[in-house]
Subunit: 215 residues, 2 copies
């Protein structure tokens, strides 16, 4: 990787960006025609989150991409233009929110494969974040999409971590194991990805009893 | 406000930015010498979140400032520089996370006043977000700091909404009412702002019974 070491006229040092632009700004993940709409997976999830929010079902958002802002111009009072900024590596997963008093936390991934899901699609900081949230009894999962666009799987993060810890990223999860350990969601409409249906089942499985008093 | 209407050479329209730079990029809120450290309130909270996270107490983060990215340069492969972006109005409050299975959501505000806290420090989108999260049984609050730096109050969002709905923003909350309805935190060390102590009390008050089964 080319590195540059120079200072700006104002004395500020040039900082090599923490990472390249995140995948969502590139077009490699747009290959999947999602359902019948040509919608990207991220857009389908945001659409579903908008649906759930406007219907009072849950309050879930995608976290904004973290950027390190270096220079802002003010072409007019009350107008700001960011003229130099760099992408930062996130510390968390992409989505979180609240549903029936539970903390939801998830990451969405897709693969061009049809029958196996590469663990390397996940990144260490996402795994670490899942581990911390699970330790606090958060409801954590990943939404996984294979090459066919009409199905999305909700896969528990605890199971993902089992695979991660066992194989250290050099492995793919066979689709039949995703089906067996996860929940199958049919891509549809209102919402596009009805993931809350599976979240109810995941909650019943992992958090059937809640302590209400202070420990 | 000056508005410009022109197109870039690539045909993209110029979009007037949604808002000016957020307060945190300005220096007006830096006037408070926080504790004995000269630390801004936001830094003190982030410090406290880091402490709680590294000690396995809670997983709470400040949400990144949302920006609309218009142009990215790639001075070298795997290096990206954002050359044009605009600040977007957030849809949510600044902080959220998970603690003992509960969803935490909060906003931090400070005032130069000593005895009253202006409601106009809060913005409609923050109030709307609190309302939605409270409806989902999220544990929601605001951290309020007056001119003196050694005390921060944790004030329940439900009470804030009561004031907001009654006065529609044209009011200040007297300090004695903040003390009465809120929880007093002493600015200290490890962590700087021990807000989880008050969260335990707020949980006991608002969510003593948790339903674990699907409704």
């Amino acid at each position: 990787m080319l590195t540059m070491t120079f200072s700006y006229p104002n004395g500020k040092k040039y900082h090599a960006p923490a990472q390249e632009a995140p995948a969502e700004t590139k077009t490699e993940n747009d290959h999947v025609i999602f359902g019948k709409r040509g919608m990207r997976l991220e857009d389908a999830i945001n659409d579903s989150n908008d649906y759930y929010r406007s219907h009072g079902r849950a309050v879930v958002y995608k976290k904004p991409t973290p950027v390190q802002i270096v220079h802002v111009d003010y072409p007019a009072r009350s107008q700001a233009v960011i003229k130099e900024a760099y992408f930062r590596t996130p510390s968390t997963t992409d989505y979180n929110g609240v549903y029936r008093g539970y903390y939801l936390d998830f990451e969405a991934k897709q693969t061009k494969n049809k029958q196996s899901f590469p663990l390397k699609n996940y990144h260490q900081h996402q795994i670490d974040h899942f581990r911390r949230c699970l330790a606090q009894d958060g409801i954590c999962f990943t939404l996984m999409q294979f090459a066919d666009p009409d199905t999305v799987y909700l896969f528990p993060a605890s199971t993902l971590l089992d695979y991660w810890d066992q194989y250290q990223g050099r492995h793919s999860i066979p689709r039949r194991e995703v089906v067996a350990a996860g929940y199958t969601l049919s891509v549809g409409f209102a919402p596009v990805i009805p993931y809350l249906d599976a979240v109810d089942a995941l909650i019943a499985r992992t958090a059937p009893q809640r302590k209400g008093t202070i420990n």
